[in-house]
Every structure is written in C-alpha cells, then in structure tokens.
C-alpha cells in the first residue's frame, strides 16, 4: 500500500512544470489587463479634467465684460493644474463667441501606455455657456 506522500510525489512528477508555465502566462496576461484598465481610468480622468477645464473657461467668460481671452486663459490654467502631466497633449484650445454664447473647444491626444497594442486616443471636446448681458 502506497502512502499519501508516494501518491503525491508521483502526481507532481507527472505535472512537472505545468503549473509554473500556466502561472507565468496567466500572471503576465493579468498584469497586462490590469495596466490596460489603469490606462483607461487615467484617460477617463484626463478627459474629464479637460471637460472641467473647458467648463471653467466658459464660466470665466460669462460676465459681460469678459470674453474669449479670459476663457482661454482660465481653461489653460485649469488644464495645467489638474492634468499637467506628459500623458495629455492639447493640440488646440480655442474660445470664441457664438451668438450670445461663449464656446470653448479643445482637440486633445491621450498617450497610450502601450503604443504597440493601442493607439493614442484623440478626441474633440466642447463646452458652452450663456454670457451675461
């Protein structure tokens, strides 16, 4: 009659290396997925930060005496303070009057952490507010 230790030893010799390879591959893929999720969350944060910056910009231009210059200055200030890292590139940020509204627009690029797998995320964002009379 074989002891439990003998059975265990036989089983291990039959599966030698199997768990290790599986573990390494599964861990690698899990970490990759984790990094992709982290990249997505950072991108969402930066998109929200730029939207907030545009909202702040148009609100700065709401008083009748203010205008597009105040809007652009405030929006740039907010972007620098809340998303000033290298992962966000502002390709264009403009403010202009459109009728009785002030409209801020931005074209941005969010850098991918894995350029080989996923390209940069480019998008156009916009905000508007009614100007005081």
């Amino acid at each position: 009659m074989r002891s439990f230790t003998d059975v265990d030893r036989v089983r291990h010799s039959e599966e030698s290396g199997f768990t290790t390879i599986q573990y390494v591959v599964a861990t690698a893929f899990s970490l990759l997925l984790f990094m992709l999720i982290a990249n997505l969350l950072v991108d969402l944060y930066e998109r929200g930060a730029v939207r907030d910056a545009l909202d702040e910009g148009v609100r700065a231009a709401v008083p009748a005496a203010a205008g597009p210059d105040e809007c652009a200055a405030r929006a740039n200030e907010v972007v620098e303070s809340v998303a000033g890292g290298s992962l966000l590139r502002i390709d264009a940020l403009t403010c202009e009057r459109d009728g009785d509204h002030i409209v801020a627009s931005a074209r941005i690029s969010l850098h991918s952490w894995f350029p080989m797998l996923i390209p940069d995320w480019k998008m156009d964002l916009r905000a508007q507010a009614l100007q005081e009379r």
Partner: protein, 137 residues
Amino acid sequence: MRRRCRNADGFVAIEWVASIALLLLPIVVLVATLPVWAERRHTATVAAREAVRRLVNDWPNANVDAAAEIAREVAADHGVDPGEVRLEVASAGAARASEVRVQVDVTMPAIAVGNMRAGEWHYTAVAVRRIDDYRSR
C-alpha cells in the same frame, strides 16, 4: 472522501472559471460603469445650471423649450445622448426675488461596458437661481 480530496483533476479549470466570474468580471464591470455614472452626474449638473441661467436671463419671457435645448446641447457636449436627458421646470419665477428652479433627469445605465448597456436608473440634478430684486421686465 480522501480520494476526492487527492484527485485534483479539473481543479485549475474550476478555479479559473470561478476567479473570472467572481473577481475579474465584477471588477471590469465596476471599472467601466462607475466613470459613466460620474460623467453623467456632472453632465446633469452642468445642464441644469445652464438651463436655469437661460431661464433667468430671459425672464419674464422665459422659454422652456430654449432651456431644454441648452440642456440637450450640454449633454451632447459631454458625450451623453440628448434623448437621455429630460428637463423639467419646477418654477419659472413668478415675480422679482422669486426663484427659478429646474430639474434635469439623466438616465444612468446600471451596467455600461463599452457600448453594452443593461438596466438603468435615473439621477436628477437641481439648479436654482433667484430673480434679481430690481430686475426690469
């Protein structure tokens, strides 16, 4: 009983399926859904603020349709389908020093992973502005 414990056939597969179902999927769903809720909540707040400003600016000839159009434009700017935003004017400001109150209701997907949506709930943002005491008509 001892035989069952020693037999590890299928153990890894079951462990894998269980970990995917109980850990990975819920986390992916949460990670994908929570930012959507935050964005839509912010959208509703901004839409309500802009709509109420429009009503106060136009007072006493406030146009509810124009305010609703503003709310829809704000929603579109924030990437929310304008059809998922509904504006309700609770009070249009009866006289000077009264308040204009609007509610913007936005549909929140219970689960949102990419373009896949399941279930929904609603969030309502409220914005209030006072008509100036000496506002000319």
